[in-house]
Amino acid sequence: MADGTVEKANPAEPAAAPTAWRSHGTARRSTHTLRLRVSAALVAVTVLAVLLVPPLVQLDQQAVDLAAKLEPPGWAHPFGTDDVGRDLLLRCVYGLRVSLLVGVVAALTATVIGTAVGATAGALGGWADRAVMRLVDTLASVPHLLLGVFIVAMFRPGVWPVVVSVGLTHWLSTARIVRAEVLSLRSRPHIDAAVSGGASRWRVTVRHLLPGVLPQAGLAAVLMVPHAMWHESALSFLGLGLPAHTASLGTLIQSARGSLLAGQWWPTLFPGLFLIIPTLALAGLAGVWRERISPRRRSELML
């Protein structure tokens, strides 16, 4: 999707010219700028649509119109209508709004937990660090979705169990990143200076270590949003997430199963595309960001 446009817009990249290393470099850079622009534009469009459409469009997304049920995509309904005649484009925007909201809140929760645990482990060091990281290893051996399914099943499906289950399962990677970063920061001169200046452990952690890890933690948070959205839609799809009447991308795909088996593809196709495009856009943005903060690491789109 996003990538396709990037690649198409850049036909100048030399295939295998022997003297092309220099021009290859510039082509690469222009690819990157383009990827940044396309990703930023897509994210902006997504956020604007999600924020502006509900207050601006005076249509009820739940309004049922049985006369117009299961209409294929056309002028009146660009994405067609679902099995009770609701406009799918509007439903998708609302669904994206819910999924994005759940994703952002869950990703923030996971990042806060992960940063707190990782920074504490890294700053304390010694046996506390080993114990905490062993616990992280242990939790990491349970597959995320399975743990999420378990938590949601035990606490009855709903918005908060989903947020909690995503938050509780996804902080592990952030904790590892933050701890590693704290450990590498600890040996820097400015930390030694702060310690020998008499700063307390708490002050060193909060004033000197945490600001240093914030870029990495922020990056992890951005990359976490698509993960959290994916997780939410998977749970909702299994019937263990948001209630069926709340439009989220997962519940939309779930409720479209009946019409899919009757041959109508559009109620299934579009919610999925609404999940893929923001994911790729966010991953593109995060990739550029990562190159900024650690230019030596190889640039790979990471999902």
Binding site: V142, P143, H144, A234, L260, T268
Partner: protein, 330 residues
Amino acid sequence: MTPLPWGAMARLTARRALFAVPVLLVVTFGVFAVAAASPFDPVKAYAGTAALGADQETLDRLRDNLGVDRPFAVRWWDWLTSALGGDFGRSTVMRQPVAEVIGERLVWSALLCAVAFAVAVLLGTVLGVLAARRPGSLLDRTVTSLAYSLEAAPVFWIALLAIWLFALNLDVLPAGGLTDTGSEHVTAGQVASHLVLPAGVLAVSQLPWFTLYVRQGVGDALAEDPVRGARSRGLSERTVLLGHALRSGLLPVLTLIGSRVPELITGALLVESVFSWPGIAAATVEAATAVDFPLLAALTTLATAAVLAGNLLADLLYGLIDPRVKLNEM
């Protein structure tokens, strides 16, 4: 070829088995703690709809029989000791012992995952090598873009679209289940035709990762000195690519295979429930929907054990393939 370091491998396996014990203890304890903290009531779950008509006295007696009022740590210990003897309790949703449920269904899940994984590894290697051969070519860009898009696509969505295309429109493959409706015996031919779609979708969901890593690994290897040396000796492009670049580029990928078990389990959860494949992953979803705690607890433990086994496999492969790695130090 040097003989396999059986001794070191056995020692590593034993060490990992020892490490797995505390992990499984903590995970099962956590499972019981979460259940204790939740509003879930085992008595109501056990009695099902019968609980609605039952009088309080019966419910109290049931509560007493099940020993629900004891602290969860005690119940956890009881469960653990009987689980070591192979008794994981009774599944309320399947109406049979949990061990039986797992025994019946594990085969089908293993079959699905193994086929999907093999397809993903083979296809991923082929696509990755083709893409790495000419970086920036049309093929490379197509493969890379497709891989990223597929990686972002939810697997259940791909599964549904695959059903729509292959089962409804083209009508070449069955849409789900293990055998045709109405057939009484499980025959190999029926299973094979019913396996194609779920295994294909699961493979497609694992494919992007392999493709991208192989492309990366082979691409890096193509720029290294041994490959340049092979080229300058006048070896054919095919030998250089497959004999030199692929061999060294595939190393890191092979070692990461074992660590893909969590993703495989996640994918199987969704794929099995879309295709009503009678495996344990689909049973997990059913158990979760019906809040069947004994089954959920056993399956979570089983999945954790599978992940640990995958990690062990990854480390063993690492030591076998890369002689610089000492198995004794892991």
